[in-house]
Amino acid sequence: MSRAFDFPGGIHPPTRKARSTREPLREAPLPRRVVLPLAQHRGQPAVPCVAVGERVRTGQVIARPQGRVSAALHASISGTVSAIEPRPVPHPGDLTAPCIVIEGDGADDWAPMPALAWRDTPTEALHRRLAESGLVGLGGAGFPSQIKARLGEHHPIDTLVVNAAECEPYISADDLTLRHHAAEVLEGARLLAHLLGAERILVGIEDDKPEALAALNTAIAAAEGMPAIELKVIETRYPSGGEAQLIRRLLGRQVPGGGLPADVGVVCHNPGTLWAALEAVRDGRPLVSRVVTLTGEALARPGNVIARLGTPLAELLEDAGLDPDRLARLVMGGPLMGQPLARLDLPLVKSTNCLIAASAEELPAPPPPRPCIRCGDCETACPVALAPQRLFAFAQAKSDDKARELALFDCIECGACDYVCPSHLPLVSQFRAAKDRLRRQEAEARRAEHARHRYEGRQARLEREAAEKEARRQARRQAASRPPSGPAPQARAQDSGGGQDAVKSLRIAQAAAKAALRKAERALARASDADEATLADLETQRTTAEEHLKAAEARLQTAQTRNDAQSSAEESP
């Protein structure tokens, strides 16, 4: 393959996958109790729709999505809701988050949705089904799938890529999924290609998975109908499973910085997600379980299991033969991009693709970092062609704006730079910290802007109230003082001229306020599909403009009454 069709850099770490691929895929034992965090996906957390003490059946909705980017949550076992409270969740900050706890009854009594034959079902019903199934990307990012399935409405999509590269060491969940369920994954790919309007399905797989490859070939040969499915085998190199990297390698297209694969007509899905999408439609089975790789030297029986969401990690690991004395560190995800977990009493979530129970020799603590020697190895390894050493210097000095100028936000946090660094510098953690700081700064700026609009709205309201009061007072005074005694004639004449000018300028102000209100209304109408915060902000601005207009009208009225009074006073003597 020519270099033009490839991403730069990349590394070849030991893959260590064989340990978890020896055993076939198996079902994990049904947990007695599950803990289901409300935020297992990108975007807004789901809102519970069950009460404590309520009986739920497997597959029943227990929390509904809120906002635009969100996902539903389903009971993964049947039983009784015993608590809705903050519990520890797998998060790098070792935080607690709101969870729904279900005590199981051991019956696994299902409440499935009606099965649909997707080829005969209207598209809108399929979209709705994906949203109702709480489906999210199972590769690790956890982005709600129904939003990705609707990308075809705004972007012309020609290719659906099945991302089976699974390039990170240790992880073999997709490999095993394909070995056992290749036909279902491909059928799921056809379903999503149908929703996206994509004419081509491309499966990208690394050449270190011969069994999965054989299963795929058999499934492709057996599959009939359109669209045709192509299989592309690529040489194993980390991180070819990154969306942008895989698209570059398979199609030679470059996803623009800060852009989405959809911008170049491609949507990527992980095999596990496609399988789950097919089950959601064909069997009416929402996302209540996932394939997870259990591996590491502290496990006697490593392998891949289909586990219910919310299963305590300790139960999963004990079932795989955990030796607590050998366990030195527990990692969720891969060794390069995953996160260390400080405790075992955490639940399995939708984005948990792998658990590494590593011994001390296996993943040793990093040696202390030494100063950067400017060797440039990180630059050679970077798959996005960034300059990690310069980014690192800026991020460390907290010159975040300079780091942003060097395309910090294009960093995919793959950890290739960390891996090759001879000085053992923690590059990616610094990048993540810098990104967090920048995001927080932006959020603060948005908050400040919104507070300013609220403040302006309040000022406008007070102004309007004052102006209306003045108008009422003027009207009262005039009613009381007719016939007017009138001020001295000389002063009156001056006043009258000034009054005319004032009315004129107030008319102009009123017209300007009217225009501002129209502009605010147009802005609000245009942003009808924006998120809630933006809408609230625009609504505040519209109200402000309205108050300004009312104030201007009241002032104009005051001035006019005063003028009328004066002119009638001038006429009367």
Binding site: A18, M337, E362
Partner: protein, 192 residues
Amino acid sequence: MPDIIAAILVLLGLALAFGALLGFAAERFRVEGDPVVEKIDALLPQTQCGQCGYPGCRPYAEAIGQGEAINKCPPGGEATIAALADLLGREPEPLDGEAQDEPRVAFIREDECIGCTKCIQACPVDAILGAARQMHTVIAEECTGCDLCLDPCPVDCIELRPREPNAWHGPRPALITSDRLDPRVGAEGVTR
């Protein structure tokens, strides 16, 4: 001689034409308000707390435009001073007052609230909800933590609490990416 007169006339004509053009442009494209004040206002944190001695962020921005010191905004802290110094080409000065390191929101202890509406009138961003002789509460999302509602409260039932951080955007310490796979360990496990 006629050449000179012609040249003078031509230049005079040009001068008049351009003068008229510039005069027209100055009228037609006049900028409303002071653009520098807008820029300064955009950098201020918009808490409207009045700790600078001005009745809001906008008045302080106008004062800075007139030459007021740039170090009087405690909620903005050093970051705001640096940004203002950058914008105005002035020297950054140390903060005048006590820095606030964490964002805060007002909280009304609702059992104690007597419903006097005094805090509602004091709030610069309309973030307190309530009515006379009814319990009041703070809309935490809109509160800027300016503490202007604390003083007017006759029963001292308002306090400032740290704003809850967004759990999924918090800091991420101790990442595994800083660990390397030990090259001594073979592809299929530890070789000892």
